[in-house]
Amino acid sequence: MVQRIYIPSDTTAKALGADRIAKLIDIMANDQNIELDIKRNGTRALYWLEPLIEVDTAQGRFGFGPVKEADLESLFAAKFWQGDVEHPLALGLVDDIAYLKHQQRLTFARIGEIDPLSLSDYQKLNGFNGLKKALTMDSQALVDQVKESGLRGRGGAAFPTGIKWQTVLNAPSEQKYIVCNADEGDSGTFADRLVMECDPFMLIEGMIIAGLAVGATQGYIYLRSEYPLAYKTLNQAIGLAYGNNLLGRDIQGSGKHFDLEVRLGAGAYICGEETSLLESLEGKRGLVRAKPPLPAIVGLFGQPTVVNNVLSLAAVPFILDQGAKAYADCGMGRSRGTLPFQLAGNVKRGGLVELAFGPKLSELMFDFGGGTRNGRPLRAVQVGGPLGAYLPESQWDTQLDYEEFAKEGAVLGHGGVVMFDDTVDMSEQARFSMEFCVAESCGKCTPCRIGSTRGVEVIDRIRAGVNVNSNIELLEDLCETMVDGSLCAMGGMTPFPVQSAMKHFRDDFMKSTVSATNTEEV
């Protein structure tokens, strides 16, 4: 009997050697006359277990991981392809692994389970059910569904998606656009990448539905160039969708039309800001535009445009298929549905954790993450990317909710959680935040362009012990100027990690041996 096994194929699994493992298993199976059908799935995003090999059985899928080259001989000796066998790497049924079992995977229900480029796999697990319904509904009914779901922009700004769609629907124009922001530049985030590499049809489906809802016939996915595999997978998926009448003219005989193209960014973090992204798509320098006008009114090529994050669009098929209420039933307060959190940095069990809003940050970091990778005490956590605040232990019990985080002066952003152990020097981290802004500022407004450079200089003086107290005062003043005076979130939020580091980890700025009361002119 041919036994089917699954070997993951996303960027991280490959980076950990999954391709080589797949090749070696194939060779060994041939040598031993064992008939294996090796299928490449995406990944479950339980990254400490990658490469995670799964074996299909009548009881479900049995997992083994993390599988290294040196483990293959013993795995074959244990006849791992039978599934329920004894082996040090045996994990039992994959669905029963606590990390996975305790999640609420709505958007990520399929990842790791399916072959990312198999339309039939996708359809077997509710794929295109949302689109089928959408094709029978009028535009306003579609927008209403998204409004009722309570979905808010998952890129970080958390603006209600349905309101944005309504604005575009109401804007009169011959040509409107759906633009997917796939410029996932925040360190510690990879949920967009997972969608695109492991379940690309879900994003395509979400974009078609968005097009139907607002009356747009052209979509663009603006993808960062740092994601070569996502680029390849998306293009293959779009080709398959065209080949099966899911994109292009007269989709599934409905008379509806939607075209979709992937465009590559070119290594500019600022292009994740929606107006900068639009400039870039138009073939220009990614300079931020002043708002208003909103992109929903004057967007790409001057036309009404929906700009949504990958995760916002990826949530839409579920909402249409299962109903707005099913989505809105999850969550707390004004944060409805789920957020895919990403555990990264110095973490023992890194990966994707999709949860309804509400649990505490500490539950995420310890119950799921298991603390630090190297076992040292956790000291600081940066949530929400390079523009997010660093949280000290006193804030770890904050509930995962947009408003609760805002109360703490922090952001959930795109859901990235980067953990640091007690060896971290927070003045060095603060310096990096400013340095990053120097490298990535678009240069349009002065507080961001010049403020960041001055920020690096001032922090360098503090770290060198020069006039520490007065320079800290100066840095605080500079941060306020940047927050209040910058045109967009780049300059406006770069101070968040700096201010939080100064507030909660002040000792790290006072370490220098030079006198802190030096009165020399600053």
Binding site: A15, S187, G188, F190, A266, Q342, P386, M419
Partner: protein
């Protein structure tokens, strides 16, 4: 690992690429990518051709090229090695790796080794944030790169037989 096939700049090849892309809405970025993918960089001569085809000034094209970190106007070494210096990798030793990479290759960022084999570049996040430090070479990403793994990687780039076009 595959080595990208680059060719030496030739106006006729450049012109053919320009013809393929110039009618696209917002053609400049896709066009610059296609040029760099083919020639490994964007030659000065290409800038003039692109400007002409898209009815832009050379300064405007240059402005776009210089805005984006990905585009380069000088030919890189045979391999471009990008080291992630973003926070998630910092939390697991990226600063040490950066310093090590610069010292053993004897270059700073944006520079190429004396044997023209490796150009070292910084990168801000490769989306491999649970398993850093991360390094990219061509289209391959490497996870959990400590100094030993970095040495092995560099060694494999030295010994790899290059595809010849």
């Amino acid at each position: 690992m595959t080595t990208p096939r680059f060719v030496t700049w030739e106006p006729s090849i450049g012109q053919a690429i320009i013809e393929e892309f110039k009618a696209k809405p917002g053609a400049l970025l896709p066009l610059l990518h296609a040029i760099q993918d083919r020639f490994s960089y964007i030659p000065e001569d290409a800038v003039a051709l692109i400007a002409g085809a898209l009815k832009l000034s050379r300064a405007e094209v240059h402005g776009v090229i210089s805005f984006y970190h990905h585009f380069r106007t000088k030919q890189p070494g045979r391999h471009v090695v990008e080291v992630c210096r973003a926070e998630a990798c910092q939390a697991v030793g990226a600063r040490h790796l950066e310093a090590y990479a610069k010292s053993i290759l004897d270059v700073q960022y944006h520079q190429t080794t004396a044997d023209n084999n490796i150009t070292l570049e910084p990168v801000y996040c490769l989306g491999n944030c649970s398993c850093g430090p991360s390094v990219r070479v061509g289209d391959e990403i490497y996870a959990e790169v400590d100094t030993q793994r970095f040495d092995e990687l560099i060694e494999s780039l030295k010994t790899e037989r290059l595809e010849v076009q």
